[in-house]
């Protein structure tokens, strides 16, 4: 298991390194002068030049690349262009909002997807099974920003059941949770469909295996067989799926944060790209990349721990 974990960790380091190189290239290729955009129309050429020097943009590209790489590995992302606040502070201020959003999305997707998938598998071939199948495909097909807009219009504007904007009162967990309901639904709804489909298929496979047949032969209750013996095995692929899903949810979070005017990493990066605030872009993207790689690493390690075949095949 240790060898397996070490190999996965090494691969994660490579992935982060490649992501950093790609990120640097993308930033370098983006047109537009960060100093002009940041300082606005009234800045003189001397002021713009001073800012370029401060941002290290006057250096040769290989020096910029080396500085970027070495600073990033040390965890030093520099300071925000204008407010001069440490980028790491800016990013970690926003990160909890996005993590909460993704956790909410996972809660929706797991909370609804697993029971629906199980139900469909148990009722295989019935109307309920077909209904779950149709609904699953439907929610997968609807983009998260469409869900966000309609959820907002229905539950916030028309019914006024839930708040429309913001992340809730700082320090008031209840208010923050209420503000999380609609955005996390928008982020997680599509994944309800994926997980329901995955769990159904996996359950059908497991329900046909010999140990389940044996359990039935022993006369164990059907509920116990389904949820204790079958689901615990059938759920394994879902863990891997969720690892990948976190990356997708990070993308969906951008839309949810814009539509619901929530703070978060998605909006931070979006705004930073528009204003060419490159230190914030690099800091935020690298932190989320590391987060994504870590989630997948943990998912792989969990799967490896639960299923020895995975360890031996790596």
């Amino acid at each position: 298991m240790l060898t397996y974990a070490a190999k996965r960790l090494g691969l994660s380091v490579v992935i982060v390194s490649v992501a950093m190189a790609l990120l640097f290239c993308m930033i370098y290729l983006v047109p537009g002068d960060p100093a002009s955009v940041a300082l606005g129309p009234r800045a003189t050429e001397a002021m713009k030049e001073a800012l370029r020097v401060r941002m290290g943009l006057d250096q040769p590209i290989w020096v910029q690349f080396w500085n970027f790489y070495s600073d990033a590995w040390r965890g030093d992302f520099g300071v925000e262009v204008l407010s001069e606040r440490p980028v790491i502070d800016v990013v970690f201020e926003q990160l909890p909002y996005t993590l909460a959003l993704i956790a909410g999305g996972i809660t929706w997707s797991v909370g609804l997807g697993i029971p629906l998938g199980c139900w469909a598998a148990v009722k295989r071939g019935s109307f309920a099974d077909r209904l779950v199948g149709v609904l699953s495909v439907a929610v997968i097909a609807i983009p998260s920003f469409v869900v966000a807009i309609y959820a907002l219009l229905i539950f916030a504007v028309s019914l006024r059941w839930l708040p429309a904007i913001g992340a809730g009162e700082p320090g008031d967990l209840g208010d923050q949770l209420v503000h999380l309901i609609l955005p996390s639904l928008a982020v997680g709804l599509g994944w309800v469909g994926y997980i329901a489909r995955m769990v159904r298929a996996s359950m059908l496979e497991v329900l046909e295996t010999s140990h389940i047949r044996t359990a039935r032969a022993f006369g164990l209750p059907e509920g116990l067989i389904t949820y204790r013996y079958a689901l615990t095995i059938a759920i394994l692929p879902t863990v891997t799926l969720l690892g990948v899903g976190v990356g997708q949810m990070l993308s969906s979070a951008v839309f949810a944060e814009i539509v619901f005017a929530r703070p978060g990493i998605g909006r931070l990066v979006y705004d930073a790209i528009l204003t060419r605030n490159f230190p914030v872009v690099t800091g935020a993207v690298l932190v989320t990349t590391v987060f994504f790689v870590l989630v997948n690493l943990i998912a792989d390690l969990v799967i490896g721990a639960l299923d020895p075949r995975v360890r031996s095949s790596f």
Binding site: V30, P31, G32, D33, P34, S36, V37, L39, G40, P41, R42, A43, T44, E45, A46, M47, K48, E80, L82, S83, R85, V90, E93, P96, Y97, A100, L152, L153, A156, V157, R160, W161, L162, P163, A164, I165, G166, A167, P170, G171, D172, L173, G174, Q176, L177, V178, I181, I258, V259, F260, A261, P263, G264, R267, L268, D271, I273, L274, T275, R276
Partner: protein, 519 residues
Amino acid sequence: MTKSPFHLSRRGVLKGAGAIGAAGLVWPSMAVSQDGRVLTVRSYSDLQVLDPAFRLSAPEGDIIREIFAGLVTNVSGDAWDWELYAAEEMMQEDDQTVFFRLREGIMFTDDYGMMTADDVKFSIERVADPAMESPYAGDWASLREVEVIDELSGRIHLAEPFAPLWNSTLPTSTCSILSRRAVEELGGQIATEPVAQSGRYIMTDWVPRQRTTLVRNPDWPGEPGGFEEIHIVPIEDPSTAELGFEAGDLDHTWTAVSSIQRLRDEPPPGGVVLEKPSLAYVWLGMNQVAAPLDNPNIRRAIQHAIDRQTVVDAAYFGAAATSTGIIAPGLPGHREANLYDYDPDRARELLAQEGADNLFVTLDILNQSERLTAAQVIQANLADVGITCEIKQNDSGTFWTLGDDSSGDYWQQLQLVLSRFSMEPDPSWATVWFTPEQVGVWNWERFDNAEYAQLHAEGLVTQDPAERDRIYKRMQDLMEESGQYVFLTHEVTGVLHRDTFDPGLKPNGEPLFGEFRSA
């Protein structure tokens, strides 16, 4: 100043547990201004800098104005005017001298003592100081010095007359007064931590990208602000803000131009919709060094080919009027009419005269819906006279460097460009960007006219309103005669607010939070 966003308390945990169980239950939505205590307003961007000398956006200026009092401030209403704020008396002694006396007893917070004339001297001179490299140094380019007479009185001495002083310099947040001692202790600049506040409100809390909280300043010696608290929520997208208003989460917001008609016809319950003329100006520019636009007759043909009324109607849903220049109605120098008409036949004639068959031009725009719609109508207008136009959309970071010489060579290829600038209520703020000095900086049309430059310099020192009116009208005539400009619109600002309070707004709809009062 910033709070941990997920600070836990026993009460919070209990409320959270309750909320999870009651997720499907009704969450009561309320208009928070109804109790007259808290007002929730939207700004289109979050604050990044609180230093008056380095503010970046209008929403920052709105906050700075409330927490750091200036000598004077704008008055709400339909005409541009000012009133005393930190000053008890202001008097123009001659063209180059302004006397001021501060109100007695304006206290800086954080134990920085009483506001004095020396603080005024420090605050104004630091903006003007070239070593500070303030982008607003130009506002005080004519400053000689600020003289301190006694603890509360002083004189502002100018090296030469400066006409915009009372319109677009003194009332702006750039002229907010800071505590010399506080700023010096901070090392010369303020970032996002407000210290030594002195205005009608004080900033007590800033949760980045979520909320800025202003609280009524109990020590303010003048008329207090109308609300105990004002919560300023940064929401970039106006449509999201409109939904927030309709859901009861906001009390005041600007609206999208495209929403004005819908909201006017069917305002949300308890909502009031206002339309305010903007000072901003939108125009189609032509780069005179990029062929075929180096030919004045081709430029003139393009001017005649564009149906400005249709462009503006389509882009702004009929809510905005066409403009005659870069200076909005109500300001000195506003022109009543353009020098030419929409005349596609004349355009075809000019193109034929120049032998310009199958002409191809590019039109660069910012990727916003109004600009794209305007560009598409322009494209159709040009096609009607035989010019093929390719629209090139750019994100804001790219767009704002297209014509800048220091940002690459694209300025040589730039042909048509659809631009929008905002401004302060003095015509010099509009004309300054088109001087020869600005060629390749913000003058992307590379309009280079010596008479224009001369008139701009004269306009800055001329005090006679009639003469200024003549100067600025002539400058716009020169722009239009060059064939490099098609003036489109000044746009319109839509404001949506609850009927439970009266918003204090500048004539262009920008908020003066200190003047927001319960109805």
